[in-house]
Protein backbone atom coordinates (compact mmCIF):
# COMPACT_ATOMS: atom_id res chain seq x y z
CA UNK A 1 0.00 0.00 0.00
CA UNK A 2 1.55 3.29 -0.94
CA UNK A 3 0.46 6.20 1.16
CA UNK A 4 0.00 9.67 -0.36
CA UNK A 5 2.69 12.19 0.35
CA UNK A 6 5.53 9.70 0.74
CA UNK A 7 6.69 8.80 -2.75
CA UNK A 8 8.26 11.36 -5.04
CA UNK A 9 6.81 14.82 -5.45
CA UNK A 10 5.12 15.83 -2.26
CA UNK A 11 6.85 13.62 0.24
CA UNK A 12 9.79 14.59 2.39
CA UNK A 13 12.96 12.61 2.97
CA UNK A 14 12.08 8.90 3.11
CA UNK A 15 12.17 7.43 6.60
CA UNK A 16 15.60 6.20 7.52
CA UNK A 17 17.38 8.72 5.32
CA UNK A 18 20.83 9.51 6.71
CA UNK A 19 20.95 12.51 8.99
CA UNK A 20 23.21 15.42 8.50
CA UNK A 21 25.02 15.29 11.78
CA UNK A 22 28.74 15.69 11.25
CA UNK A 23 28.37 15.89 7.50
CA UNK A 24 31.13 18.19 6.29
CA UNK A 25 28.90 20.10 3.88
CA UNK A 26 26.44 21.06 6.60
CA UNK A 27 28.12 24.33 7.40
CA UNK A 28 27.79 25.51 3.82
CA UNK A 29 24.17 24.55 3.51
CA UNK A 30 22.30 27.86 3.15
CA UNK A 31 19.41 26.40 5.09
CA UNK A 32 21.72 25.81 8.00
CA UNK A 33 22.50 29.50 7.97
CA UNK A 34 18.87 30.45 8.43
CA UNK A 35 18.38 27.74 10.99
CA UNK A 36 21.32 28.43 13.23
CA UNK A 37 20.53 32.13 13.03
CA UNK A 38 17.45 31.48 15.17
CA UNK A 39 18.22 28.21 16.91
CA UNK A 40 20.72 29.24 19.53
CA UNK A 41 22.84 26.93 21.66
CA UNK A 42 20.52 23.97 21.89
CA UNK A 43 20.15 23.64 18.12
CA UNK A 44 16.39 23.47 18.44
CA UNK A 45 13.71 25.87 17.29
CA UNK A 46 10.29 26.61 18.72
CA UNK A 47 7.17 27.48 16.76
CA UNK A 48 7.91 31.21 17.05
CA UNK A 49 11.46 30.70 15.85
CA UNK A 50 10.26 28.55 12.98
CA UNK A 51 7.95 31.36 11.94
CA UNK A 52 10.88 33.80 11.98
CA UNK A 53 13.09 31.35 10.12
CA UNK A 54 10.62 30.73 7.33
CA UNK A 55 9.92 34.43 7.00
CA UNK A 56 13.62 35.30 6.80
CA UNK A 57 14.25 32.56 4.30
CA UNK A 58 11.44 34.16 2.32
CA UNK A 59 9.85 30.79 2.04
CA UNK A 60 6.41 32.15 1.39
CA UNK A 61 7.72 34.21 -1.49
CA UNK A 62 4.87 36.41 -2.57
CA UNK A 63 2.54 34.82 -0.07
CA UNK A 64 1.92 36.06 3.45
CA UNK A 65 4.16 34.59 6.18
CA UNK A 66 2.85 31.56 8.03
CA UNK A 67 0.78 32.21 11.07
CA UNK A 68 1.95 30.89 14.42
CA UNK A 69 -0.67 28.17 14.70
CA UNK A 70 0.42 26.66 11.38
CA UNK A 71 4.03 26.70 12.61
CA UNK A 72 2.94 24.85 15.74
CA UNK A 73 1.26 22.24 13.58
CA UNK A 74 4.45 21.85 11.55
CA UNK A 75 6.56 21.30 14.64
CA UNK A 76 4.02 18.81 15.92
CA UNK A 77 4.05 16.93 12.61
CA UNK A 78 7.75 16.09 12.92
CA UNK A 79 8.08 16.18 16.70
CA UNK A 80 9.25 12.61 17.27
CA UNK A 81 10.69 13.24 20.72
CA UNK A 82 7.66 15.23 21.91
CA UNK A 83 9.79 18.21 22.75
CA UNK A 84 7.63 20.76 20.92
CA UNK A 85 10.82 21.92 19.20
CA UNK A 86 12.55 21.02 15.96
CA UNK A 87 16.20 20.22 15.21
CA UNK A 88 18.03 20.87 11.99
CA UNK A 89 17.33 17.45 10.44
CA UNK A 90 13.63 17.86 10.94
CA UNK A 91 13.88 21.39 9.61
CA UNK A 92 15.46 20.12 6.41
CA UNK A 93 12.77 17.50 6.08
CA UNK A 94 10.11 20.13 6.65
CA UNK A 95 11.68 22.43 4.10
CA UNK A 96 11.61 19.82 1.38
CA UNK A 97 8.03 18.81 2.19
CA UNK A 98 6.91 22.45 2.27
CA UNK A 99 8.53 23.08 -1.07
CA UNK A 100 6.61 20.23 -2.62
CA UNK A 101 3.36 21.63 -1.27
CA UNK A 102 4.25 25.13 -2.36
CA UNK A 103 4.97 24.02 -5.93
CA UNK A 104 1.69 22.21 -5.98
CA UNK A 105 -0.22 25.21 -4.62
CA UNK A 106 1.44 27.56 -7.09
CA UNK A 107 0.48 25.31 -9.97
CA UNK A 108 -3.17 25.71 -9.00
CA UNK A 109 -3.05 29.35 -7.99
CA UNK A 110 -2.65 30.50 -11.56
CA UNK A 111 -3.53 34.11 -10.96
CA UNK A 112 -1.04 34.30 -8.08
CA UNK A 113 -3.70 35.64 -5.80
CA UNK A 114 -2.41 33.61 -2.86
CA UNK A 115 -5.72 31.78 -2.58
CA UNK A 116 -7.50 28.89 -4.29
CA UNK A 117 -11.19 28.14 -4.40
CA UNK A 118 -12.83 25.04 -2.86
CA UNK A 119 -12.99 23.17 -6.17
CA UNK A 120 -9.29 23.66 -6.75
CA UNK A 121 -8.60 22.60 -3.17
CA UNK A 122 -10.47 19.34 -3.74
CA UNK A 123 -8.52 18.71 -6.92
CA UNK A 124 -5.28 19.48 -5.12
CA UNK A 125 -6.06 16.94 -2.40
CA UNK A 126 -7.07 14.32 -4.91
CA UNK A 127 -3.99 14.83 -7.02
CA UNK A 128 -1.83 14.44 -3.92
CA UNK A 129 -3.42 11.04 -3.54
CA UNK A 130 -5.84 11.70 -0.68
CA UNK A 131 -9.24 10.15 -1.19
CA UNK A 132 -11.65 11.43 1.39
CA UNK A 133 -15.39 10.85 1.44
CA UNK A 134 -17.45 13.73 -0.01
CA UNK A 135 -18.67 14.70 3.47
CA UNK A 136 -15.14 14.77 4.85
CA UNK A 137 -13.99 16.80 1.88
CA UNK A 138 -16.81 19.28 2.47
CA UNK A 139 -15.79 19.66 6.09
CA UNK A 140 -12.17 20.14 5.12
CA UNK A 141 -13.07 22.88 2.69
CA UNK A 142 -15.37 24.61 5.19
CA UNK A 143 -12.81 24.46 7.94
CA UNK A 144 -9.87 25.73 5.96
CA UNK A 145 -11.56 28.43 3.94
CA UNK A 146 -12.03 32.08 4.80
CA UNK A 147 -14.73 33.90 2.85
CA UNK A 148 -14.93 31.01 0.45
CA UNK A 149 -11.23 30.93 -0.40
CA UNK A 150 -8.30 28.92 0.89
CA UNK A 151 -5.05 30.76 1.55
CA UNK A 152 -1.62 29.24 1.17
CA UNK A 153 -1.24 29.19 4.94
CA UNK A 154 -4.48 27.28 5.46
CA UNK A 155 -3.62 24.92 2.62
CA UNK A 156 -0.35 24.10 4.35
CA UNK A 157 -2.13 23.64 7.69
CA UNK A 158 -4.46 21.17 5.98
CA UNK A 159 -1.55 19.28 4.38
CA UNK A 160 0.28 19.13 7.69
CA UNK A 161 -2.77 17.70 9.41
CA UNK A 162 -3.26 15.09 6.69
CA UNK A 163 0.37 14.12 6.88
CA UNK A 164 0.30 13.77 10.68
CA UNK A 165 -2.78 11.58 10.53
CA UNK A 166 -1.22 9.52 7.74
CA UNK A 167 1.97 9.04 9.77
CA UNK A 168 -0.07 7.96 12.75
CA UNK A 169 -2.02 5.46 10.69
CA UNK A 170 1.05 4.06 8.93
CA UNK A 171 2.67 3.30 12.25
CA UNK A 172 -0.26 1.08 13.09
CA UNK A 173 -0.45 -0.54 9.67
CA UNK A 174 2.42 -2.95 10.25
CA UNK A 175 1.50 -5.17 7.35
CA UNK A 176 1.33 -2.25 4.93
CA UNK A 177 -2.15 -3.28 3.85
CA UNK A 178 -3.79 0.09 4.33
CA UNK A 179 -5.80 -1.24 7.28
CA UNK A 180 -5.25 -0.65 10.99
CA UNK A 181 -6.89 -1.57 14.26
CA UNK A 182 -7.60 0.85 17.09
CA UNK A 183 -8.74 0.32 20.61
CA UNK A 184 -11.06 3.07 21.88
CA UNK A 185 -8.63 4.61 24.36
CA UNK A 186 -5.82 4.58 21.81
CA UNK A 187 -8.07 5.93 19.06
CA UNK A 188 -9.09 8.93 21.12
CA UNK A 189 -5.62 9.64 22.44
CA UNK A 190 -3.70 9.46 19.22
CA UNK A 191 -6.34 11.35 17.28
CA UNK A 192 -6.31 14.10 19.90
CA UNK A 193 -2.57 14.35 19.93
CA UNK A 194 -2.07 14.36 16.17
Amino acid sequence: MSYPGYAGGYGGAPPGAPGYAGFPGQQQDPLFGYFSGVAGQDGQISAEELQTCLTQAQFSGGYKPFNLETCRLMINMLDRDMSCTMGFNEFKELWSVLNGWKQHFMSIDRDHSGTVDPQEMQQAMASMGYRLSPQAMNCVVKRYSTHGKITFDDYVACCVRLRSLTDLFRRRDQAGQGVASFQYDDFIQCTMSS
Binding site: S181, Y184, I188, T191
Partner: protein, 188 residues
Protein backbone atom coordinates in the same frame (compact mmCIF):
# COMPACT_ATOMS: atom_id res chain seq x y z
CA UNK B 1 -23.54 39.74 31.17
CA UNK B 2 -24.39 37.25 33.77
CA UNK B 3 -24.53 33.71 32.48
CA UNK B 4 -22.12 32.62 35.10
CA UNK B 5 -23.85 34.01 38.16
CA UNK B 6 -26.89 32.82 39.99
CA UNK B 7 -28.61 36.10 39.45
CA UNK B 8 -32.07 34.64 39.25
CA UNK B 9 -32.93 31.08 40.04
CA UNK B 10 -35.70 29.76 37.80
CA UNK B 11 -38.82 29.05 39.76
CA UNK B 12 -39.03 25.40 38.76
CA UNK B 13 -35.70 23.89 37.93
CA UNK B 14 -36.74 22.21 34.73
CA UNK B 15 -39.13 24.82 33.36
CA UNK B 16 -38.01 26.44 30.09
CA UNK B 17 -36.78 30.00 30.44
CA UNK B 18 -39.40 32.68 30.24
CA UNK B 19 -39.70 34.15 26.72
CA UNK B 20 -39.57 37.76 27.86
CA UNK B 21 -36.49 37.05 29.91
CA UNK B 22 -34.78 35.35 26.97
CA UNK B 23 -35.72 38.14 24.57
CA UNK B 24 -34.18 40.63 26.97
CA UNK B 25 -30.92 38.75 26.95
CA UNK B 26 -31.03 38.20 23.21
CA UNK B 27 -31.37 41.90 22.56
CA UNK B 28 -28.47 42.72 24.81
CA UNK B 29 -26.20 40.16 23.23
CA UNK B 30 -27.20 41.09 19.68
CA UNK B 31 -25.24 44.32 19.85
CA UNK B 32 -25.53 45.33 16.21
CA UNK B 33 -29.25 44.56 16.26
CA UNK B 34 -28.94 42.39 13.19
CA UNK B 35 -31.56 39.97 14.49
CA UNK B 36 -28.97 37.23 14.79
CA UNK B 37 -26.23 36.64 17.33
CA UNK B 38 -22.84 36.15 15.69
CA UNK B 39 -19.81 34.21 16.96
CA UNK B 40 -18.22 37.42 18.18
CA UNK B 41 -21.34 38.60 19.99
CA UNK B 42 -21.83 35.29 21.72
CA UNK B 43 -18.18 35.12 22.67
CA UNK B 44 -18.40 38.53 24.31
CA UNK B 45 -21.44 37.50 26.29
CA UNK B 46 -19.95 34.35 27.77
CA UNK B 47 -17.50 33.92 30.61
CA UNK B 48 -15.10 31.06 31.26
CA UNK B 49 -14.29 32.17 34.79
CA UNK B 50 -11.02 33.83 33.82
CA UNK B 51 -10.25 37.18 32.22
CA UNK B 52 -9.45 35.58 28.90
CA UNK B 53 -11.99 35.50 26.06
CA UNK B 54 -14.27 32.51 25.80
CA UNK B 55 -12.78 29.80 23.59
CA UNK B 56 -13.68 30.85 20.01
CA UNK B 57 -13.64 27.23 18.86
CA UNK B 58 -16.27 26.38 21.46
CA UNK B 59 -18.33 29.38 20.37
CA UNK B 60 -18.10 28.23 16.75
CA UNK B 61 -19.16 24.69 17.70
CA UNK B 62 -22.19 25.97 19.60
CA UNK B 63 -23.35 28.40 16.94
CA UNK B 64 -22.90 25.74 14.25
CA UNK B 65 -25.03 23.35 16.28
CA UNK B 66 -28.01 25.68 16.39
CA UNK B 67 -27.60 27.71 13.20
CA UNK B 68 -30.10 25.84 11.04
CA UNK B 69 -29.60 27.64 7.77
CA UNK B 70 -25.86 28.28 7.85
CA UNK B 71 -26.12 32.02 8.19
CA UNK B 72 -23.23 32.22 10.62
CA UNK B 73 -25.35 33.19 13.60
CA UNK B 74 -28.46 32.32 15.62
CA UNK B 75 -31.83 34.06 15.55
CA UNK B 76 -34.08 34.35 18.57
CA UNK B 77 -35.72 30.95 18.16
CA UNK B 78 -32.39 29.22 17.78
CA UNK B 79 -31.01 31.21 20.68
CA UNK B 80 -33.43 29.47 23.04
CA UNK B 81 -31.59 26.25 22.19
CA UNK B 82 -28.21 27.89 22.72
CA UNK B 83 -29.30 29.23 26.08
CA UNK B 84 -30.49 25.86 27.30
CA UNK B 85 -27.36 24.16 25.98
CA UNK B 86 -25.05 26.50 27.83
CA UNK B 87 -27.13 26.41 31.01
CA UNK B 88 -27.04 22.62 30.96
CA UNK B 89 -23.27 22.70 30.60
CA UNK B 90 -22.99 25.13 33.47
CA UNK B 91 -24.93 22.75 35.66
CA UNK B 92 -22.73 19.84 34.67
CA UNK B 93 -19.59 21.86 35.22
CA UNK B 94 -20.71 23.04 38.65
CA UNK B 95 -21.64 19.49 39.59
CA UNK B 96 -18.19 18.14 38.85
CA UNK B 97 -16.17 21.11 40.02
CA UNK B 98 -16.48 19.76 43.51
CA UNK B 99 -13.95 22.04 45.12
CA UNK B 100 -15.58 25.04 43.43
CA UNK B 101 -12.29 26.19 42.00
CA UNK B 102 -13.84 27.27 38.71
CA UNK B 103 -11.72 24.64 37.01
CA UNK B 104 -12.08 20.91 36.55
CA UNK B 105 -8.95 19.00 37.49
CA UNK B 106 -7.98 15.51 36.41
CA UNK B 107 -9.79 13.74 39.24
CA UNK B 108 -12.98 15.71 38.67
CA UNK B 109 -12.66 15.11 34.93
CA UNK B 110 -12.50 11.36 35.48
CA UNK B 111 -15.80 11.49 37.30
CA UNK B 112 -17.37 13.78 34.71
CA UNK B 113 -16.46 11.43 31.89
CA UNK B 114 -17.46 8.09 33.37
CA UNK B 115 -20.23 7.93 30.77
CA UNK B 116 -17.68 7.61 28.00
CA UNK B 117 -16.01 4.66 29.62
CA UNK B 118 -19.05 2.49 29.79
CA UNK B 119 -19.17 -1.06 28.48
CA UNK B 120 -15.89 -2.22 27.09
CA UNK B 121 -14.36 1.20 26.69
CA UNK B 122 -11.75 1.15 29.43
CA UNK B 123 -9.87 4.38 29.90
CA UNK B 124 -6.26 4.60 30.98
CA UNK B 125 -4.92 7.22 33.32
CA UNK B 126 -2.92 8.63 30.44
CA UNK B 127 -6.18 9.25 28.60
CA UNK B 128 -7.12 12.05 30.96
CA UNK B 129 -3.65 13.56 30.76
CA UNK B 130 -3.99 13.67 26.99
CA UNK B 131 -7.39 15.35 27.17
CA UNK B 132 -6.20 18.02 29.55
CA UNK B 133 -3.03 18.55 27.53
CA UNK B 134 -5.10 19.03 24.41
CA UNK B 135 -7.89 21.25 25.71
CA UNK B 136 -6.48 23.21 28.62
CA UNK B 137 -5.81 26.60 27.02
CA UNK B 138 -5.07 28.25 30.35
CA UNK B 139 -2.12 25.91 30.82
CA UNK B 140 -3.04 25.15 34.40
CA UNK B 141 -3.32 21.39 34.09
CA UNK B 142 -7.06 21.84 34.66
CA UNK B 143 -9.90 22.78 32.36
CA UNK B 144 -11.91 25.96 32.45
CA UNK B 145 -15.59 26.04 31.53
CA UNK B 146 -15.16 26.83 27.83
CA UNK B 147 -12.40 24.27 27.31
CA UNK B 148 -14.43 21.68 29.20
CA UNK B 149 -17.32 22.12 26.79
CA UNK B 150 -15.02 21.83 23.79
CA UNK B 151 -13.39 18.72 25.22
CA UNK B 152 -16.75 17.05 25.73
CA UNK B 153 -18.01 18.02 22.27
CA UNK B 154 -14.96 16.54 20.55
CA UNK B 155 -14.94 13.47 22.76
CA UNK B 156 -18.61 12.85 22.08
CA UNK B 157 -18.13 13.16 18.32
CA UNK B 158 -15.12 10.86 18.27
CA UNK B 159 -16.91 8.35 20.47
CA UNK B 160 -19.98 8.45 18.24
CA UNK B 161 -17.94 7.80 15.13
CA UNK B 162 -15.98 5.06 16.89
CA UNK B 163 -19.19 3.34 18.01
CA UNK B 164 -20.50 3.38 14.46
CA UNK B 165 -17.57 1.24 13.40
CA UNK B 166 -17.44 -0.89 16.53
CA UNK B 167 -20.32 -3.07 15.47
CA UNK B 168 -19.53 -5.92 17.86
CA UNK B 169 -19.00 -3.43 20.69
CA UNK B 170 -15.74 -4.90 21.90
CA UNK B 171 -13.94 -1.58 22.03
CA UNK B 172 -11.89 -2.28 18.90
CA UNK B 173 -12.30 -1.12 15.34
CA UNK B 174 -10.52 -2.01 12.16
CA UNK B 175 -10.55 0.66 9.49
CA UNK B 176 -8.94 1.44 6.18
CA UNK B 177 -6.72 4.44 5.72
CA UNK B 178 -9.38 6.40 3.88
CA UNK B 179 -12.05 5.54 6.42
CA UNK B 180 -9.77 6.73 9.19
CA UNK B 181 -9.08 10.09 7.51
CA UNK B 182 -12.73 10.64 6.79
CA UNK B 183 -13.67 9.71 10.35
CA UNK B 184 -11.39 12.07 12.17
CA UNK B 185 -10.46 14.85 9.85
CA UNK B 186 -13.48 16.98 10.37
CA UNK B 187 -13.82 16.40 14.08
CA UNK B 188 -10.58 17.31 15.71
Amino acid sequence: MAYQNQYRQPQYNNAPADQGFLWNIFQRVDKDRSGAISDTELQQALSNGTWTPFNPVTVRSIIAMFDRDNKGGVNFNEFAGVWKYITDWQNIFRTYDRDNSGFIDKTELKQALTGFGEQSYRLSDQFYNTLIEKFDRQRKGQVAFDDFIQCCIVLQRLTDVFRRYDTDQDGWIQVSYEQYLSMVFNIV
